[in-house]
Every structure is written in structure tokens, then in C-alpha cells.
């Protein structure tokens, strides 16, 4: 049944007890993203280490949204928190590719299961165009937060 392909058990688990939820402090960058179709919002903060290849030392997200957006923020936390950016950013890329797999010619077989971890459960979401933005909301916010944090460090 279609519904179960979207609402995988692992997604509902993340939704019910999300990881990384809360206001991170101190932090290097805070970004605010809105999903304009529904009005849902996420405020996401990151803290990066000062290493040459900075570590994601902290990530916190608050906001409201549907199960998919809440679960994906939780999975984002699991996959990137504590990782060096050199590893974290490719995971974001992989996840984006996964989300566009149903609507572009990305071949799902080429994606890296290990990098994706629980995020692979979102494969079913990719079949519902209106929900892709839900899944990507916090991930896009994370990408911008990292860029902002890096820019502020080099200035």
C-alpha cells in the first residue's frame, strides 16, 4: 500500500521522538526557512569547530511541520551531527538526490546507503512531489546555515 511506503515505521519513530530538537546555544549561524506551500517553518542553528575540516559540533532545530518534515530534521541531526563537513555535505547531496529520484533521472542504486542511514526511509516520500519540500526543509536550512557559519568565520 502506498501510504506505508511513505510513512515507514522509522519515519514515524523519528517523528514521535525527534533528535536534535531544541535551541542550540552557543551557535555560529541561525537560519529560518519556510515551506511556502504550507507555511511550516524551521529555525535551525549550527555550530562548527575551528578545524581545517570543521566538525558539526552542534545542530538544533525548532519549528512546526508535518510528520515528514519533523522526522527528516531528526534524521538530519543523526546523520550530520558530529561529522566533519567533508562528510556531512555529501550526505546532504545524497539526500537531495534521493528526494529527486522519482522526478529526475537519478538512479537510486547509485546512492550510498551508508551515508544515508535512516534517511533511506524517505525514498517513498520522493514519489509525492508535494512532500519533497517537507523532507528537504531542514536539510536546505542546514546547508545554508553551514554556508553562513563558514562565511562569518572567514570574515
Amino acid at each position: 500500500m502506498d501510504l506505508e511506503s511513505m510513512y515507514q515505521e522509522v519515519i514515524l519513530d523519528h517523528y514521535r521522538s525527534p533528535h536534535g530538537k531544541g535551541e542550540l546555544d552557543p551557535f555560529d549561524a541561525e537560519v529560518f526557512h519556510v515551506n511556502p506551500t504550507c507555511g511550516d517553518e524551521v529555525t535551525l542553528r549550527v555550530k562548527l569547530s575551528d578545524d581545517a575540516d570543521p566538525l558539526v559540533e552542534g545542530l538544533g532545530h525548532v519549528g512546526q511541520g508535518c510528520s515528514i518534515s519533523q522526522a527528516s530534521a531528526s534524521v538530519l541531526f543523526d546523520q550530520v551531527n558530529g561529522q566533519p563537513l567533508s562528510e556531512a555535505m555529501p550526505i546532504v547531496d545524497e539526500f537531495s538526490m534521493l528526494m529527486y529520484s522519482a522526478t529526475s533521472d537519478v538512479d537510486i542504486a547509485t546512492l550510498d546507503d551508508e551515508k544515508l542511514g535512516d534517511a533511506i526511509a524517505f525514498e517513498g516520500v520522493a514519489k509525492y512531489p508535494a512532500r519533497i519540500k517537507c523532507a528537504l526543509l531542514s536539510w536546505m536550512a542546514f546547508r545554508e546555515a553551514v554556508e553562513t557559519a563558514q562565511a562569518s568565520k572567514t570574515n
Binding site: 502506498d2 510513512y7 504550507c38
Partner: protein
């Protein structure tokens, strides 16, 4: 209209025969966003293209004559539907453009005064002047006024809402006062379903010399609207919500006002005389219809009006009212459901918004969709109303003439299933995702 009549009505809409999500019959409860189109409307538009297609008001040959005649006859039919005369009806691409046309008439008049030109003072806004809207406006009837206020220095004020989803009329006389230049109010809220006392508001607006605009997107397709009874100065609505084609909207305005309004979009077919240095403008409605217009869509919309008239808008209204009552009765007693908007079937139209405890509207929508029930979820382009009621999103079921009580039953069953799926209903099953 009895259930079997509604089913007969429905037969005229080819799309409603289709299935979705793996063979499930479609239950279309999203007519508030856009209505489906009956075969006669599609046929009329096609016949125009196959027999009379030509640019209107622009040619001397027979096709041009026929196209012009079709376009202007459509205008007469559509104007007649709201008790107006053809010269008062302007065609736009949608209600959003209609409302912007009025807002820009204020902006352009104000800019002209600043250049020392003589304009009608009713369309001039200065700091201190006030614009009044409501907290339940669709963005189409809010943002143009926000922009206008920002550009002219006027102040935007608004009617608040009561807890039961009505306009708070208690401060009517304070809100609309000597400083008010324009009041723009939605006739029927697309999110709450509330039907507002626009006639009373128009009366007060006219008392203080303000102009009254009505966003009738959700009323003209569903209940009898008569320009004289309404007492407004402008009425805006869209064709696609009333069984008509996409790409056409209407603006009715009092002739006397249209006459003194500067144009909005300028170009061909809206001019009197053009030189490189300057131009003069045609009379309304042409002044507001620059460029080759959507003649085929006008013909389609006129056919939609004839289609409605065949059954009678009163009968459609009665049918939708009954359906709304039936749905309210069911939803009012469902555990875990909170209706956002009037719960009583009084002064309300056929759109019902609700939240489901513990589940985001979009997740409810997904489960409903999986059952073939098409509703809209989100802020419905009425974010401030959501904010007022402390929700970011609602689920909205909205009806049209082709809906039946069976559709309402399907909705209720699907909501129950969603509650079960997410484990939030009183009688929910554990581990909902295992399916059932």
C-alpha cells in the same frame, strides 16, 4: 436538490469519473480551490476556437466580427448573472488581477495628483488615510492593500475575528471612520466558510465616503449575488471556481467609478489616440483590457453561467447548504476534530476547515488522498486567519453542486482512518503503521 439530482449533475463533469491512487473513485472536495468543468463548458470553448477564433475588437473580417460578438455576448451573460450591465464588467485573468486593478487605481491616481494632474479625490491616498480589510482575507485581498498602504503612506486596518469564526463587528464605527478611503472585504471566507455582512459594511463605508470592494470569489459561484442588493462599489471573482475555464477573472465596478479610474495594464485596444509623446484612453471596460483578451475563456465562462442558470443558483445554494449542514453535524461530534470557522450552519458557505488533534493537516491530507478524497491542506492563502486561530495549517473540505452526502460520508470515514493510522483517535489501534 436531492441526492439523485446531484448525481445527475455530477455526470456532466468528465473528470469526476476518474479514479486516483490505484483505482479509488475520486471524491473531489477541493472546489474552493478550483471547480471541475462540465462538458458543455469545454465544448463551448472548443467551438469558439474551431469556428470563430480571431482577435476581438481588431478586425473587419467575418471571423473578427464573430469573435467580437461572442466575446461581448459573453460579457452580457456574465454581467447579467450578478444583475449588472455589460459596460460595468471588466475581464481580467483572475480575481487576483481584478483586486490589483482596483488597488493600482488608487496608486496611479495618487501618483497623478502628485504630478499635479486632476484625478478623482476618492482614489487618492495620503498618510493618515485608512484602508480597511479583515483578518480573514485571502492573500489576494490583503497583499495588494498592504502594498498600497506602504506605497502611499496610508494605514492598513482590519476587522478582527471572533472565536467562533465571525467578523468582529463590535468596532465597526471606529474601524470605518472619516479617514477611511477604501474597505475591502471577502464575501465568503475561503478558509472559514463564513459569509460576511458585506451589505452592512458597505453601508457604513458609504456613510463615511469610502469605497467598498468585495472579494466574491467564494460567493458568486455558490450563492445568488446581486450587485444592487450588495451595495458594493467593486466586486471581484474568478471564472475557474464557477465551472468556468482557467485564465479568466471578473471585476464589476460602478460605471461612474470605472470612468474616473486610470488604467492599470496599458497597451493595445485600451486607447483612444496614441502619439509617441502621449496617449489618451478608451472608456471602460476597454480601458482595463489591454492586449488580446481571453475571448475563448469568456465564452466558456458565459456557458458556465448558462449551465448554472439551468439549475438555478438558488437550488445550487440550497443543495450546498444542506450538504454543509450534513457535514457539520458529523464533524462537530467527531472526537479529536476542531472546526476552524463557524460550527453552526448559519451565514456560512460550503467550505469547512478543521484540524485533527495530534496530526498535521498535511498528514491528514495524505491519508485522505490515499483514500481518493481530495481536500486542500495548508493555510489556504489566508495565513493571518490561521495565525488568529493558532494553527499553521488546516484541512479544508469544500463542496460544489456535484458533491453528495456520500462524499461527506467518505470524508468522515477517511478522517477516522487517518486518526487510526497516526494512533490519535479515541478508538485508535496501536502501531498504526502496521496497516489494517
Amino acid at each position: 436538490m436531492a441526492e439523485d439530482l446531484a448525481l445527475k449533475f455530477k455526470e456532466q463533469f468528465p473528470l469526476l469519473e476518474r479514479t486516483v491512487r490505484g483505482g479509488k473513485p475520486l471524491i473531489y472536495l477541493d472546489s474552493g480551490a478550483t471547480s471541475q468543468k462540465p462538458t458543455v463548458v469545454l465544448d463551448a470553448e472548443r467551438a469558439f476556437y474551431e469556428q470563430h477564433n480571431s482577435a476581438v475588437h481588431r478586425g473587419a473580417h467575418q471571423l473578427a466580427e464573430e469573435a467580437t460578438d461572442a466575446y461581448e455576448s459573453a460579457r452580457a451573460t456574465i454581467a447579467g448573472f450578478i444583475g449588472a450591465t455589460p459596460g460595468e464588467l471588466v475581464f481580467t485573468k483572475n480575481a487576483t488581477e481584478s483586486l490589483n486593478l482596483v488597488a493600482y487605481a488608487f496608486l496611479n491616481s495618487t501618483l497623478e495628483t502628485e504630478r499635479g494632474l486632476e484625478v478623482d479625490p476618492r482614489f487618492v491616498l495620503r498618510p493618515g488615510d485608512e484602508i480597511v480589510v479583515t483578518e480573514m482575507e485571502h492573500h489576494a485581498n490583503l497583499i495588494p492593500w498592504q502594498e498600497l498602504a506602504a506605497k502611499t503612506g496610508a494605514t492598513l486596518r482590519w476587522f478582527g475575528l471572533t472565536d467562533d469564526g465571525r467578523l468582529d463587528m463590535s468596532n465597526l464605527n471606529d474601524l470605518i471612520n472619516e479617514k477611511t478611503k477604501v474597505v475591502s472585504v471577502v464575501h465568503q471566507s475561503n478558509i472559514l466558510g463564513t459569509i460576511n455582512p458585506v451589505t452592512d459594511i458597505a453601508k457604513r463605508a458609504h456613510e463615511v465616503g469610502a469605497l467598498m470592494v468585495v472579494d466574491a470569489c467564494q460567493s458568486v459561484p455558490h450563492i445568488p449575488v446581486d450587485v444592487k442588493a450588495l451595495g458594493a462599489d467593486f466586486i471581484a471573482w474568478s471564472g475557474h471556481k464557477m465551472y468556468g475555464p482557467m485564465g479568466i477573472g471578473c471585476l464589476w465596478g460602478r460605471t461612474e467609478l470605472l470612468k474616473v479610474m486610470p488604467p492599470f495594464i496599458t497597451g493595445g485596444s485600451m486607447i483612444k489616440k496614441v502619439t509617441m509623446e502621449s496617449s489618451t484612453y478608451a472608456d471602460p471596460p476597454q480601458r482595463f483590457e489591454a492586449g488580446v483578451p481571453m475571448a475563448a475563456q469568456a465564452v466558456g465562462l458565459a456557458q458556465a453561467v448558462d449551465f448554472i442558470n439551468e439549475l438555478g443558483i438558488e437550488n445550487l445554494a440550497a443543495h450546498e447548504h444542506e450538504l454543509t449542514g450534513y457535514a457539520l453535524d458529523k464533524l462537530n461530534v467527531m472526537p479529536g476534530i476542531r472546526i476552524i470557522g463557524p460550527t453552526e450552519n448559519v451565514d456560512r458557505g460550503a467550505a469547512i476547515s478543521f484540524e485533527v488533534d495530534g496530526v498535521h493537516a498535511h498528514d491528514i491530507g495524505q491519508v485522505l488522498d490515499d483514500a481518493g478524497v481530495a481536500v486542500r491542506v495548508g493555510h489556504h492563502c489566508a495565513a493571518p486567519a490561521c495565525q488568529r486561530y493558532g494553527v499553521t495549517a488546516t484541512v479544508r473540505a469544500s463542496f460544489a453542486g456535484y458533491n453528495t452526502k456520500a462524499d461527506v460520508d467518505a470524508l468522515v470515514a477517511a478522517i477516522k482512518r487517518a486518526q487510526e493510522f497516526f494512533g490519535v483517535a479515541g478508538d485508535s489501534v496501536e502501531g498504526a503503521t502496521d496497516g489494517s
